[in-house]
């Protein structure tokens, strides 16, 4: 074998490095890492969402002219505030990708398109968890009459299930609205009716926990409703998401 032949062979090997095929979990993790990194560096969504939510509590205090709320009223205020704050994050979720070519770059990669949905939904879920870590104690401090400490363990399940629903529906709606002319208007218009069942389930499950005289754990059917709704909409979002990313 001559020297040049060997060199060519080595070059060819260097050009086509042998790598294990990229699994879906790796793709999702890479995309999620990128999302969180961008958010950490720009701080575009989460601080705004948290601040907005706390501001809404203050607005509710003056609009209702009440120092403390409890029961269904408290659950309603908490969920309306969280929903509106989540809407801010949903509206911003795909803006950078649409404006700065993120969609095109993603489409060039030979990976499953559903990975983008999953990664974005996980990122939104992370934003919502951070939002609630700030907003729920703030709610307990500012508006809630009964003490938050007792209700907190029971609150975790409805919060987690509602966050899953918000993440699935929010990601789908954000992808639908982002490449339209009126994206800021269409996002909430599409998302709010779709999220009404989530609000029904979450508010009903939370109300007994926030009641003045502890009225026991929430009826399990609300958690079940939330879980089923999350599951069905997660599947729907996964089924139709591919069609939003074709050009």
């Amino acid at each position: 074998m001559s020297n040049t032949e060997q060199l060519e062979k080595e070059n060819a090997r260097a050009r086509t490095p042998r790598r294990a095929p990229v699994g879906p979990a790796q793709v999702i993790l890479a995309l999620l890492r990128k999302e969180l990194l961008v958010e950490l560096r720009t701080l575009e969504s989460v601080p705004g969402m948290a601040l907005f939510c706390v501001t809404i509590f203050v607005v509710f205090h003056f609009a209702l002219n009440q120092n403390a709320v409890a029961g269904q009223e408290a659950a309603g205020i908490l969920w309306v505030s969280l929903l509106l704050a989540a809407m801010l994050g949903i509206n911003r979720l795909f803006v950078a990708d649409a404006d700065q070519g993120g969609f095109d770059a993603f489409l060039l990669a030979p990976v499953d398109r559903g990975a983008l949905l999953v990664a974005k939904a996980l990122a939104l879920l992370a934003y919502l968890v951070v939002l609630e870590v700030v907003a729920v104690p703030a709610f307990g401090l500012l508006l809630l009459g009964p003490s938050l400490g007792q209700a907190l363990p029971g609150l975790l399940a409805p919060l987690a299930l509602a966050d899953l629903g918000l993440a699935a529906i929010g990601t789908l709606v954000a992808a639908l609205a982002v490449r339209t002319r009126a994206r800021d208007l269409l996002g909430p218009l599409l998302a709010l009716p779709l999220l009404v069942p989530v609000v029904i389930g979450a508010a009903r499950a939370t109300a007994p926990l926030l009641a003045a005289n502890d009225s026991g754990p929430p009826a399990p059917r609300w958690l079940l409703t939330l879980g089923l709704y999350d599951l069905v909409f997660g599947l729907i979002a996964y089924a139709v998401f591919d069609f939003l990313l074709e050009d």
């Binding site: 490449r179 009126a182 599409l190 009404v196 909409f233 089924a239 139709v240 069609f243 939003l244």
Partner: protein
């Protein structure tokens, strides 16, 4: 694209076929479906029959009196409207699978017509609620509330659709919306029904617990309403196709 051409599948459908190609659905290049005349006549006859039954045959309900007859208008309207929303979703699935713009046109027409029917449902429902419960709107009627939520969701169909410039993407995004919303219709009804406390008894549930004459009249009204929906959809489809054909022809003649 000119601004007057608001039909959804306009240029993409045109691009798919050679200019001037005749519509495959009908002979001689007419955009009308064959049998549209027969369908129209049947609808008129069915509506005459249903209205005669409502006003001259079915007995006046004992508790609510004459105003209960709006039931034969309101409930069929609601059923046909919801069916149309789900139909729009199914047609949208066909569009996403085949990429044929004609399915998108059909899905658009089905949802558009259901929205018009839906507005009529809310108006007739309000009138009925006012007459029998004394309020224009009642929150403890889960069917009415879930219908409002569905109506509000579908009211964003056209703003979404016409906020997208590219006709191909417009059709695709509208179909994704139609599929999602079509699946949302039954889910939403289940969720709202769960949330309602059954304090108030349901005045009229399914047609099964109606007396015979009322059930018969209700079924005839339902068929008449479904026929009306089909006829109006066919006319709207014909109008859209005519406009597409006209555009194609005028392009050949160099008007555009």
């Amino acid at each position: 694209m000119k601004s007057w051409s608001r039909h959804p599948a306009g240029s993409s459908e045109m691009d798919r076929r050679p200019p001037g190609a005749v519509n495959r659905d009908s002979p001689a290049g007419s955009p009308f479906l064959p049998g549209l005349r027969a369908l129209s006549v049947t609808t008129v006859l069915a509506f005459c029959a249903s209205l005669s039954l409502v006003f001259f045959y079915v007995p006046i309900e004992a508790e609510e009196g004459f105003v209960q007859k709006i039931f034969y208008l309101h409930v069929p309207l609601a059923i046909v409207s919801l069916g149309g929303f789900v139909l729009g979703g199914l047609l949208a699935i066909a569009h996403l699978r085949t990429r044929d713009a004609r399915w998108d046109l059909r899905s658009y027409v089905a949802i558009h017509m259901s929205l018009i029917f839906g507005a009529a449902v809310l108006i007739t429902g309000s009138i009925w609620a006012r007459a029998s419960w004394g309020h224009w709107w009642v929150w403890d009627e889960p069917t009415l509330v879930s219908f409002l939520i569905v109506f509000l969701l579908y009211a964003t169909y056209q703003p979404l659709r016409f906020a997208i410039e590219d006709p191909e993407r417009q059709a695709r995004y509208a179909s994704v919306f139609a599929v999602t919303a079509g699946a949302f219709v039954p889910l939403n009804f289940i969720a709202v029904r769960l949330s309602a406390s059954y304090v108030h008894p349901r005045v009229l549930g399914a047609a099964s617990n109606l007396p015979g004459s009322m059930a018969f009249t209700f079924l005839v009204s339902l068929v008449a309403m479904a026929l009306l929906y089909a006829t109006l959809c066919s006319y709207e489809l014909a109008a859209k196709r005519t406009r597409i054909l006209l555009k194609a022809r005028s392009r050949i003649l160099g008007f555009q």
